[in-house]
Protein backbone atom coordinates (compact mmCIF):
# COMPACT_ATOMS: atom_id res chain seq x y z
CA UNK A 1 0.00 0.00 0.00
CA UNK A 2 1.26 3.45 -0.90
CA UNK A 3 2.03 6.05 1.71
CA UNK A 4 -0.52 8.88 1.76
CA UNK A 5 0.76 12.36 0.85
CA UNK A 6 2.42 14.05 3.77
CA UNK A 7 2.34 17.66 2.62
CA UNK A 8 -0.03 19.84 0.66
CA UNK A 9 1.42 22.80 -1.17
CA UNK A 10 -1.04 25.63 -1.59
CA UNK A 11 0.15 28.55 -3.69
CA UNK A 12 -2.02 31.65 -3.98
CA UNK A 13 -0.81 34.58 -6.04
CA UNK A 14 -2.43 37.87 -6.88
CA UNK A 15 -0.83 39.47 -9.87
CA UNK A 16 -2.45 42.85 -9.31
CA UNK A 17 -0.98 43.36 -5.83
CA UNK A 18 2.09 41.20 -6.48
CA UNK A 19 1.08 39.23 -3.41
CA UNK A 20 2.01 35.60 -3.09
CA UNK A 21 1.23 33.11 -0.37
CA UNK A 22 2.83 29.68 -0.35
CA UNK A 23 1.60 27.28 2.29
CA UNK A 24 3.04 23.87 3.04
CA UNK A 25 0.31 22.18 5.02
CA UNK A 26 1.26 19.07 7.03
CA UNK A 27 -1.73 16.96 6.02
CA UNK A 28 -0.21 13.89 7.61
CA UNK A 29 -1.60 15.30 10.86
CA UNK A 30 -5.08 15.15 9.35
CA UNK A 31 -4.53 11.49 8.40
CA UNK A 32 -3.46 10.70 11.95
CA UNK A 33 -6.59 12.33 13.37
CA UNK A 34 -8.73 10.59 10.75
CA UNK A 35 -7.19 7.22 11.57
CA UNK A 36 -7.87 7.71 15.27
CA UNK A 37 -11.52 8.63 14.54
CA UNK A 38 -11.93 5.61 12.25
CA UNK A 39 -10.52 3.22 14.83
CA UNK A 40 -12.89 4.66 17.43
CA UNK A 41 -15.88 4.39 15.08
CA UNK A 42 -15.07 0.97 13.59
CA UNK A 43 -17.44 -1.01 15.89
CA UNK A 44 -20.29 1.32 14.85
CA UNK A 45 -19.38 0.97 11.17
CA UNK A 46 -19.42 -2.82 11.42
CA UNK A 47 -22.78 -2.67 13.21
CA UNK A 48 -24.20 -0.33 10.55
CA UNK A 49 -22.95 -2.70 7.82
CA UNK A 50 -24.63 -5.67 9.50
CA UNK A 51 -27.91 -3.75 9.82
CA UNK A 52 -27.75 -2.54 6.22
CA UNK A 53 -26.81 -5.95 4.77
CA UNK A 54 -30.41 -7.20 4.22
CA UNK A 55 -31.16 -4.02 2.23
CA UNK A 56 -28.17 -4.51 -0.08
CA UNK A 57 -26.11 -1.63 1.33
CA UNK A 58 -23.97 -3.64 3.78
CA UNK A 59 -21.06 -4.13 1.39
CA UNK A 60 -21.14 -0.44 0.49
CA UNK A 61 -21.01 0.65 4.14
CA UNK A 62 -18.26 -1.83 4.96
CA UNK A 63 -15.97 -1.14 2.00
CA UNK A 64 -16.53 2.59 1.56
CA UNK A 65 -13.92 3.70 4.09
CA UNK A 66 -11.13 1.32 2.89
CA UNK A 67 -11.71 2.55 -0.66
CA UNK A 68 -11.57 6.20 0.43
CA UNK A 69 -8.29 5.40 2.24
CA UNK A 70 -7.01 3.77 -0.96
CA UNK A 71 -7.81 6.94 -2.91
CA UNK A 72 -6.07 9.10 -0.28
CA UNK A 73 -2.98 6.89 -0.56
CA UNK A 74 -2.84 7.53 -4.32
CA UNK A 75 -3.12 11.30 -4.10
CA UNK A 76 0.66 11.64 -4.52
CA UNK A 77 1.45 13.74 -7.56
CA UNK A 78 -1.99 15.28 -7.97
CA UNK A 79 -1.58 18.86 -9.15
CA UNK A 80 -4.17 21.50 -9.92
CA UNK A 81 -3.12 24.83 -11.37
CA UNK A 82 -5.75 27.44 -12.17
CA UNK A 83 -4.69 30.81 -13.54
CA UNK A 84 -7.05 33.70 -14.02
CA UNK A 85 -6.21 37.16 -15.17
CA UNK A 86 -5.50 38.45 -11.66
CA UNK A 87 -5.14 35.31 -9.58
CA UNK A 88 -3.23 32.03 -9.60
CA UNK A 89 -4.08 28.97 -7.54
CA UNK A 90 -1.77 25.98 -7.36
CA UNK A 91 -2.45 22.88 -5.29
CA UNK A 92 -0.03 19.99 -5.12
CA UNK A 93 0.05 16.85 -3.00
CA UNK A 94 3.61 15.85 -2.03
Amino acid sequence: MNCPPLLLRLDLSETEHHGRVVLWLPIFLAWLILAAILIALSPLIILAALLAWPFGWGKTVLLFIPLVCNCICHLHGLEVNIERKDRVLFISFK
Binding site: T60, L67, G77, E79, V80, I82, E83, K85
Partner: protein, 142 residues
Protein backbone atom coordinates in the same frame (compact mmCIF):
# COMPACT_ATOMS: atom_id res chain seq x y z
CA UNK B 1 12.56 -17.27 -39.57
CA UNK B 2 12.58 -14.33 -41.97
CA UNK B 3 12.49 -14.55 -45.78
CA UNK B 4 16.04 -13.24 -46.00
CA UNK B 5 17.37 -15.87 -43.62
CA UNK B 6 15.54 -18.60 -45.54
CA UNK B 7 16.94 -17.32 -48.85
CA UNK B 8 20.50 -17.39 -47.46
CA UNK B 9 20.04 -20.94 -46.18
CA UNK B 10 18.62 -21.99 -49.57
CA UNK B 11 21.64 -20.47 -51.33
CA UNK B 12 23.90 -22.39 -48.93
CA UNK B 13 21.99 -25.61 -49.60
CA UNK B 14 22.26 -25.13 -53.38
CA UNK B 15 25.98 -24.52 -52.99
CA UNK B 16 25.83 -20.97 -54.35
CA UNK B 17 27.58 -19.61 -51.24
CA UNK B 18 29.97 -21.08 -48.70
CA UNK B 19 29.20 -21.60 -45.03
CA UNK B 20 31.43 -18.64 -44.10
CA UNK B 21 29.61 -16.36 -46.53
CA UNK B 22 26.24 -17.57 -45.23
CA UNK B 23 27.38 -16.86 -41.69
CA UNK B 24 28.48 -13.33 -42.66
CA UNK B 25 25.21 -12.65 -44.47
CA UNK B 26 23.14 -13.93 -41.53
CA UNK B 27 25.12 -11.73 -39.18
CA UNK B 28 24.63 -8.76 -41.52
CA UNK B 29 20.84 -9.00 -41.58
CA UNK B 30 20.82 -9.52 -37.84
CA UNK B 31 18.52 -11.66 -35.79
CA UNK B 32 15.51 -9.36 -36.12
CA UNK B 33 14.42 -10.63 -39.53
CA UNK B 34 11.07 -9.30 -40.65
CA UNK B 35 9.92 -8.61 -37.10
CA UNK B 36 9.45 -4.95 -36.36
CA UNK B 37 12.31 -3.48 -34.40
CA UNK B 38 11.75 -1.06 -31.62
CA UNK B 39 12.91 2.38 -32.64
CA UNK B 40 13.05 4.02 -29.23
CA UNK B 41 12.82 3.33 -25.56
CA UNK B 42 10.44 0.62 -24.38
CA UNK B 43 6.86 1.76 -23.85
CA UNK B 44 6.45 2.99 -20.30
CA UNK B 45 3.22 2.69 -18.42
CA UNK B 46 1.63 6.15 -18.19
CA UNK B 47 1.74 7.70 -14.74
CA UNK B 48 -0.37 10.79 -15.09
CA UNK B 49 -3.37 12.04 -16.99
CA UNK B 50 -2.89 15.67 -17.93
CA UNK B 51 -5.72 18.07 -18.75
CA UNK B 52 -4.67 21.49 -20.00
CA UNK B 53 -7.12 24.26 -20.80
CA UNK B 54 -5.64 27.32 -22.45
CA UNK B 55 -7.24 30.39 -23.93
CA UNK B 56 -7.48 30.29 -27.67
CA UNK B 57 -4.86 32.67 -29.06
CA UNK B 58 -7.30 33.68 -31.80
CA UNK B 59 -9.98 34.65 -29.29
CA UNK B 60 -10.69 38.35 -29.03
CA UNK B 61 -12.19 38.40 -25.53
CA UNK B 62 -9.29 38.78 -23.10
CA UNK B 63 -11.25 39.96 -20.05
CA UNK B 64 -11.37 36.69 -18.17
CA UNK B 65 -8.41 34.67 -19.32
CA UNK B 66 -8.38 31.33 -17.56
CA UNK B 67 -5.74 28.62 -17.76
CA UNK B 68 -6.18 25.25 -16.09
CA UNK B 69 -3.52 22.60 -15.78
CA UNK B 70 -4.47 19.43 -13.91
CA UNK B 71 -2.26 16.41 -13.42
CA UNK B 72 -4.10 13.34 -12.12
CA UNK B 73 -2.13 10.23 -11.12
CA UNK B 74 -3.35 7.17 -13.06
CA UNK B 75 -3.27 5.19 -9.80
CA UNK B 76 -5.81 7.61 -8.36
CA UNK B 77 -8.11 6.87 -11.32
CA UNK B 78 -7.58 3.15 -10.72
CA UNK B 79 -8.52 3.61 -7.06
CA UNK B 80 -11.56 5.67 -8.02
CA UNK B 81 -12.82 3.05 -10.47
CA UNK B 82 -12.97 0.54 -7.62
CA UNK B 83 -15.83 2.59 -6.18
CA UNK B 84 -18.06 1.24 -8.94
CA UNK B 85 -18.02 -2.16 -7.22
CA UNK B 86 -19.84 -0.54 -4.30
CA UNK B 87 -22.78 0.73 -6.32
CA UNK B 88 -25.80 -1.43 -5.44
CA UNK B 89 -27.79 -2.90 -8.34
CA UNK B 90 -30.77 -0.56 -7.79
CA UNK B 91 -28.53 2.49 -7.78
CA UNK B 92 -26.79 1.28 -10.95
CA UNK B 93 -30.13 1.16 -12.74
CA UNK B 94 -30.93 4.69 -11.63
CA UNK B 95 -27.51 5.91 -12.78
CA UNK B 96 -27.97 4.18 -16.14
CA UNK B 97 -31.38 5.79 -16.58
CA UNK B 98 -29.98 9.22 -15.71
CA UNK B 99 -27.16 8.71 -18.22
CA UNK B 100 -29.66 7.63 -20.88
CA UNK B 101 -31.67 10.81 -20.28
CA UNK B 102 -28.50 12.78 -21.01
CA UNK B 103 -28.03 10.83 -24.23
CA UNK B 104 -25.26 8.54 -22.94
CA UNK B 105 -26.08 4.90 -23.52
CA UNK B 106 -23.69 3.30 -21.05
CA UNK B 107 -24.06 0.62 -18.38
CA UNK B 108 -21.99 1.46 -15.30
CA UNK B 109 -22.11 -2.20 -14.26
CA UNK B 110 -19.80 -2.94 -17.19
CA UNK B 111 -17.11 -0.67 -15.78
CA UNK B 112 -14.57 -3.07 -14.28
CA UNK B 113 -10.98 -2.61 -13.07
CA UNK B 114 -9.77 -5.16 -15.69
CA UNK B 115 -11.21 -2.99 -18.46
CA UNK B 116 -9.47 0.03 -17.01
CA UNK B 117 -6.05 -1.59 -17.44
CA UNK B 118 -6.83 -2.09 -21.12
CA UNK B 119 -8.01 1.50 -21.37
CA UNK B 120 -4.84 2.82 -19.72
CA UNK B 121 -2.73 0.82 -22.17
CA UNK B 122 -4.69 2.35 -25.01
CA UNK B 123 -4.15 5.84 -23.60
CA UNK B 124 -0.54 5.69 -24.83
CA UNK B 125 -1.72 6.53 -28.30
CA UNK B 126 -4.45 8.94 -27.29
CA UNK B 127 -4.39 12.70 -27.34
CA UNK B 128 -7.54 14.75 -27.29
CA UNK B 129 -7.55 18.28 -28.64
CA UNK B 130 -10.72 20.32 -28.43
CA UNK B 131 -10.80 23.86 -29.65
CA UNK B 132 -13.75 26.19 -29.49
CA UNK B 133 -13.98 29.94 -29.85
CA UNK B 134 -12.53 30.85 -26.47
CA UNK B 135 -10.57 27.87 -25.19
CA UNK B 136 -8.34 25.03 -26.24
CA UNK B 137 -8.48 21.75 -24.27
CA UNK B 138 -5.68 19.22 -24.48
CA UNK B 139 -5.93 15.82 -22.74
CA UNK B 140 -3.04 13.36 -22.79
CA UNK B 141 -1.10 10.91 -20.64
CA UNK B 142 2.55 11.18 -19.63
Amino acid sequence: MSDNQKRILDMLAWGKISADEAQKLLAAIGSGGDEPRSTGAPLRSPKYLRVVIQPNPDATKEDDVKRVNVRVPINLIRAGIKFTSLIPAEASEQVNEALKEKGINFDVRNLKPEDLEELIEALHDLEVDIQNGQEKVHVYVE
